[in-house]
């Protein structure tokens, strides 16, 4: 790697250096990831310089573990950065909602009490919201309702997955299945996507 700046290295050069466990290449990757994390997450109050250094260090190890899954259609450094950002934000999300009770989130969220729509927008938009509320109460399973409500409360997927003792992918699938059911529920009542879009835009 001597003679060329890390920013000029090819994908192949990065791969070869990391596979050979070249200390200079590993350090160059750590520096690159750390700079990227500082640029993208450095403004956050919950992410100090020491955190970002730790995340970059851990991300290097994660990238090394995943080298065989790298596909050459992407620039190597962008691929590595995507891993570093996922790792960092997952840690920050877990930290931010560590103490949140899922039950409390659900209780504070969407009510299935029809009186809850009092004071809402009247007219077609209000009717659509009322129908959606009914859909949540009647068309979803308890687990789907739990996931949807937690998402609306901003509970991070990783935290939700840990509380439900399932993989994050399972949380996403539950959410997707629930959203599809609600979309069909609205469509059955005449609220196709165009109509819903118009009502949402008419705020």
């Amino acid at each position: 790697m001597s003679g060329a700046k890390a920013s000029d290295w090819s994908n192949e050069a990065w791969l070869a250096g990391l596979r050979a466990r070249d200390a200079d290449v590993i350090e160059a990757l750590r520096e690159r990831l750390c700079l990227g994390l500082q640029a993208s997450l450095g403004h956050r109050a919950d992410a100090g310089d020491a955190d970002l250094d730790d995340f970059a260090q851990e991300a290097v190890l994660r990238v090394m573990d995943k080298l065989d899954s790298y596909r050459s259609e992407a620039r190597f450094t962008t691929w590595a950065m995507s891993i570093a950002v996922r790792l960092s934000l997952t840690k920050l999300r877990r930290r931010s909602r560590k103490a949140v009770s899922l039950d409390a989130s659900v209780a504070a969220s969407l009510s299935d009490d029809s009186n809850a729509t009092e004071g809402m927008t009247h007219g077609a938009r209000g009717e659509m919201f009322e129908l959606l509320r009914q859909g949540v109460a009647q068309a979803l399973t308890e687990r789907q309702r739990q996931v949807i409500m937690a998402e609306l409360e901003g509970v991070p997927q990783v935290v939700l997955a840990e509380q439900l003792k399932v993989a994050p992918g399972a949380v996403y699938k539950t959410s997707h299945d629930a959203r599809k059911k609600l979309k069909a529920y609205l469509a059955d009542a005449g609220y196709d996507p165009v109509t819903v879009g118009e009502l949402l835009a008419a705020r």
């Binding site: 700079l35 990227g36 994390l37 640029a39 993208s40 997450l41 899954s69 596909r71 259609e73 992407a74 620039r75 450094t77 962008t78 691929w79 950065m81 995507s82 891993i83 570093a84 950002v85 996922r86 934000l89 999300r93 969220s109 969407l110 009510s111 809850a116 729509t117 004071g119 809402m120 927008t121 659509m128 919201f129 959606l132 509320r133 949540v136 949807i148 998402e151 609306l152 991070p156 997927q157 994050p168 992918g169 996403y172 699938k173 997707h176 959203r179 599809k180 609600l182 979309k183 609205l186 996507p193 819903v196 879009g197 009502l199 949402l200 705020r203």
Partner: protein, 84 residues
């Protein structure tokens, strides 16, 4: 807006953007680098790119990651305004 109405508004938007088939967050991570490199080079979006854009419209966490990766890599994604 009441808290309930805010939730219903948010839910209605998520439901309306829902597709029959969606990529999940792991699949998003597999293709986001390719996506950003294509955006940076002004290449036409592929089917995978369209799937990624749909995913970030229903997944705020992956949208946050997309914005952060773009910022870290210095990729201008202003051209995606209105699409994500």
């Amino acid at each position: 807006m009441t808290a309930d109405e805010r939730h219903l508004d948010k839910l209605a938007r998520l439901v309306n953007e829902t597709a029959e088939e969606e990529i999940d967050c792991d699949q998003f991570l597999e293709i986001v680098a390719v996506f950003l490199n294509r955006v940076a080079r002004n290449l036409d979006p592929t089917a995978a790119c369209e799937a990624l854009k749909q995913h970030v419209r229903v997944c705020p966490e992956c949208k946050e990651e997309l914005l952060a990766i773009a910022q870290a890599e210095g990729v201008d994604i202003a051209c995606l305004e209105g699409e994500i």
